[in-house]
């Protein structure tokens, strides 16, 4: 996957977690926590969905990398380069 595809994949996961949320105006550089009020349970969910959908493992010490869309895509790019 290329970064644009990874971004779409994350948007899909967020839309699944928060179906009432309007994601069209998401600011990629602002934290998910501030924009969507995501809490630790939600971050665990993003990690679990990545594992379920793409078999990507995110160890607990790396959860901080998932702060915003930009940091998440940067972090996942090398991990997901081989994902179709």
């Amino acid at each position: 996957m290329v970064p644009a595809e990874i971004r779409t994949a994350i948007i899909d996961i967020l839309a699944d977690i928060a179906p009432d949320e309007d994601l069209s105006n998401l600011n990629d550089d602002q934290s998910f926590r501030d924009q969507m009020e995501l809490d630790s349970m939600d971050f665990l969910d993003i990690v679990m969905e990545l594992r379920k959908r793409y078999r990507v493992q995110v160890p607990e010490e790396d959860y901080v990398q998932l702060e915003s869309m930009a940091s998440t895509v940067t972090y996942l790019t090398p991990k997901m380069v081989a994902v179709a």
Binding site: D20, E37, D39, M41, D42, L44, M48, Q57
Partner: protein
């Protein structure tokens, strides 16, 4: 071999099941009763639908709210806000002989009522609110502090303390007289910061959505499959044995049976500590009216009443019930959506503190007579605080601590479980965990939250 076996198909077990099945676990929920729901179940009688436990769904927040337990469970279970179709309350009251406090889903009404009835306590009440906001949910030590002690240090008018405790104890205190500070904060937030709501169709709507989702994810649900034993070998659970002798293996077990009740199931526990059982249980008198309660001047969603200045929250010591305090719930008095209209019947539900032992030990004949007698007595006590609805009653039902025991299997029919809560859900068995009432959260949203958080913590971590 299941990844996770869940004991009990109430709100917590079903919510946990959805989480686990969503992440591709092989899950089985085992339920002893013939129906789902546990305390929050439903039944049909004389052609009418009734709820068992539900007066109000607490923790209500409006659509679009991102914070709070309701928003969290919707996200965690992948439901839309509309899936629970909750309608907010009209307004409720706490009534004592010399004072009344009205409240609704906006804390400012309660603030202004405190200012009106207790003008000298305005600052103290704000100080209490600050302490509640600052309380950290997961701190077991802070949880167990005496709620009455914190209240005594914060509010100097004893009557106001009793009036605040009354609704919070009624809707979620397993202990008698005092209430753990953590439980107090959880209840205060769920009732006064958030609020009351109800689905037009009652609790069955929520349950049916939970089961439908669980099954669509491949989860198995077996009713009339009571677990009689958890087989423990060297501190590790290997399987459960059912009432019919069947053995089902699982990698881990999540039990909503209650802490004492779960210990009793464990093959390595010879005598569970019965002194830890909860004792607060109720009767509920349900009256069907030939008109809406508002037609006779009752516009309250819920009324919590107490007939003296001191709130008495104890199991009755010398009779079947204690009618000095009670709760009056009128399910008609929610603001249902225009396309839903009005409920088919007027309904008033009265909850009264009861003694499990007395109700449990009677012959069938005495039991039937006692039901009639205590319906009359509990309703008579309640009409001191609400317009007298007795001339308009067309049908009645009464359920007792025995009924609650049948639906929940909790010792003593304890509605809110045991006083001692186990916030992390752990037990002496390394792969057996608690969820539900005895893990700490109560109410419909709280129970689902418990199932979700225990599933996340113990069953989903990589």
């Amino acid at each position: 071999m299941y990844d996770t076996i869940i004991i009990g198909a109430g709100m917590s077990g079903l919510a946990a099941g959805i989480r686990l099945a969503h992440y591709d676990q092989k899950v089985c929920i085992l339920e002893r009763h013939y129906t789902i729901g546990g305390l929050n179940s439903f039944y049909r009688m004389n052609g009418r639908d009734y709820d068992v436990g539900l007066h109000a769904v607490t923790n209500f927040t409006e659509k679009g709210a991102k914070k709070g337990p309701l928003a969290r469970i919707l996200r965690q279970l992948r439901f839309k806000w509309e899936d629970f179709s909750l309608s907010p309350q009209r307004g409720s009251r706490v009534v004592f002989p010399s004072a009344e406090l009205r409240f609704d889903n906006d804390i400012d009404l309660l603030r202004s009522e405190v200012a009106r009835a207790f003008p000298g306590q305005v600052d103290n009440f704000e100080a209490l609110i600050e302490k509640i906001v600052d309380y950290d949910d997961l701190d077991q030590e802070a949880f167990e502090v005496s709620g009455r002690k914190v209240l005594d240090e914060t509010i100097s008018e004893p009557l106001l303390i009793e009036m605040i405790l009354c609704p919070l104890m009624w809707y979620g205190n397993a202990d008698s007289h005092d209430m753990a500070w953590g439980q107090f904060c959880i209840m205060f937030r769920s009732i006064f910061f958030e609020g009351f709501a109800r689905p037009y169709k009652g609790v069955r709507l929520i349950l049916k959505n939970l089961v439908k989702r669980y099954r669509s994810l491949g989860g198995e649900l077996k009713l009339r499959h009571g677990v009689s034993k958890v087989i423990v070998d060297n501190g590790h659970a290997t399987a459960v044995e059912l009432d019919n002798g069947e053995v089902i293996e699982g990698k881990r077990i999540l039990s909503s049976a209650g802490s004492l009740e779960t210990m009793r199931l464990c093959s390595d526990v010879s005598e569970p500590d019965l002194s830890k059982a909860g004792e607060m249980t109720f009767i509920e008198s349900i009256s069907v009216l030939d008109r809406e309660p508002s037609k006779i001047g009752n516009d309250d969603t819920i009324v919590f009443y107490n007939d003296s200045e001191k709130f008495n929250w104890h199991p009755p010591t010398d009779d079947f019930c204690d009618t000095r305090t009670g709760v009056i719930c009128s399910p008609n008095n929610y603001v249902y959506a225009d396309d839903e209209g009005k409920l088919a019947d007027g309904i008033v539900r009265i909850t009264t503190i009861a003694d499990f032992r007395r109700w449990n030990e009677m012959s069938d004949e005495d039991y039937a007579r006692a039901k009639l007698k205590w319906y009359d007595k509990s309703v008579e006590a309640s009409v001191r605080f609400t317009p007298d609805f007795r001339p308009y009653v067309i049908d009645t039902d009464l359920f007792t601590p025995k009924t609650i025991r049948r639906f929940t299997w909790h010792d003593n029919g304890a509605v809110y479980g045991a006083p001692e809560k186990k916030l992390d859900g752990s037990t002496h068995v390394d792969n057996l965990f608690l969820c539900g009432t005895d893990q700490g959260y109560v109410g419909i949203i709280g129970a689902m939250m418990s199932g979700i958080s225990m599933a996340n913590l113990h069953c989903l971590r990589p």
